[in-house]
Symmetry: C2
Subunit: 217 residues, 2 copies
């Protein structure tokens, strides 16, 4: 839902939009199918799906099927959830940076959010500022044209309910979005991601079309 809202905003603000999806060893491919469907929905001409099989090299519950996914109250001592994927956003932004420079694009949209997932270090405003600084030093446009490739994270300080409300105004097709960390036919309803999503829809007073009718929440 974050990426979809972000994409919808990018289409409105900065056409033409190129879309980039990275398969980094997520437990399931459902979100990849959703990304393709969303790109079709928004008429994105260039949507690249890049396979980076880095999962086995990383220590994360999100890429290791043998580990249990966190539920309410099982987070443990660390403030950072076990679903944190080491350096994931740095990897995504590195790919996007090379792509943006190669295609002479001015900005990179990223659907990160610092409110609900405040435990992820690479979802914080200071992290994004540091990456933008790096991007200026790392690229040809930064050196030769003193132009920076801007990192735009419009959802950074929004709550999940804010995102639902904003997405409603933008007409985001929620039925094409997927948040559940598990890989079932329906959202599991108990993982951190499902719970935050449900809370957001409830607070915003919007029905989530991906949740089966009548399910107790």
């Amino acid at each position: 839902m974050d990426s979809a809202t972000c994409l919808s905003l990018a289409v409105q603000e900065s056409p033409p939009v190129h879309a980039l999806t990275v398969v980094y060893g997520q437990r399931h491919m459902r979100e990849i199918r959703c990304a393709r469907a969303l790109a079709r929905h928004y008429g994105i001409e260039k949507h690249s799906v890049l396979d980076i099989p880095i999962g086995p090299l990383l220590d994360s519950a999100l890429t290791d099927r043998r580990r249990t996914l966190p539920r309410a109250g099982t987070r443990g001592r660390s403030a950072i959830p076990s679903t944190y994927v080491p350096a994931r956003n740095t990897l995504l932004l590195a790919v996007a940076l090379g792509y943006a420079e190669s295609h002479r694009l001015a900005r990179i949209y990223l659907g990160v959010n610092a409110v609900d997932y405040s435990g992820y270090p690479d979802c914080r405003p200071e992290y994004l500022r540091a990456f933008e600084r790096l991007a200026r030093l790392a690229t040809r446009v930064g050196v030769e044209e003193h132009r920076s490739i801007h990192i735009r994270a419009p959802l950074l300080r929004k709550s999940k309910a804010d995102i639902v409300r904003w997405g409603e105004r933008l007409g985001v097709p929620w039925r094409l979005t997927w948040s559940c960390y598990a890989g079932g036919a329906e959202p599991c309803g108990v993982c951190d991601s499902c719970r935050l999503r449900a809370l957001g829809f409830r607070e915003a007073g919007v029905r989530d079309p991906t949740v089966p009718m009548g399910r107790a929440e």
Copy 2:
């Protein structure tokens, strides 16, 4: 030769060493075979070769076979060679950062060099400092333990001749190294990379075992 010297130094300074090779769409696989041979030579237990098929998404003579490789005098107006791969070192460092954090490693060795390839923006000291700062903000160890994953670039300010002399002292097996940008059975001898290598060996007074005997240079 830079990566091999860097690896040799890492093995001496910071054992045990894990090695990471990224296949990002280089024109040839020769350097990948060399990386495997070097890892065996140094008895590296964990050597990961990660395939990131990003070449078609990037604008670079190094990943696009249809483009000609630069030779002496063909660099054109830009100070940055056409072999520059957009955001390549950011991508390599992002992968290494996720790996290092997952395996609780303290430092990342990178064989970048700011002297001979001064045209590459992501081979400069200020770029590496910016990445190190990013790494502190991006990671769990940075946030929870206030530890940074250190980026070590020991060859940064060395000339190619310095690297050959240093490698000689470290006992680097030059026969297992490969610098040529083209993909022939022998080094082409005319690309930027071959020329800088030849200059380094000549200045250091060392014979390069990968160059056929009797070839005019």
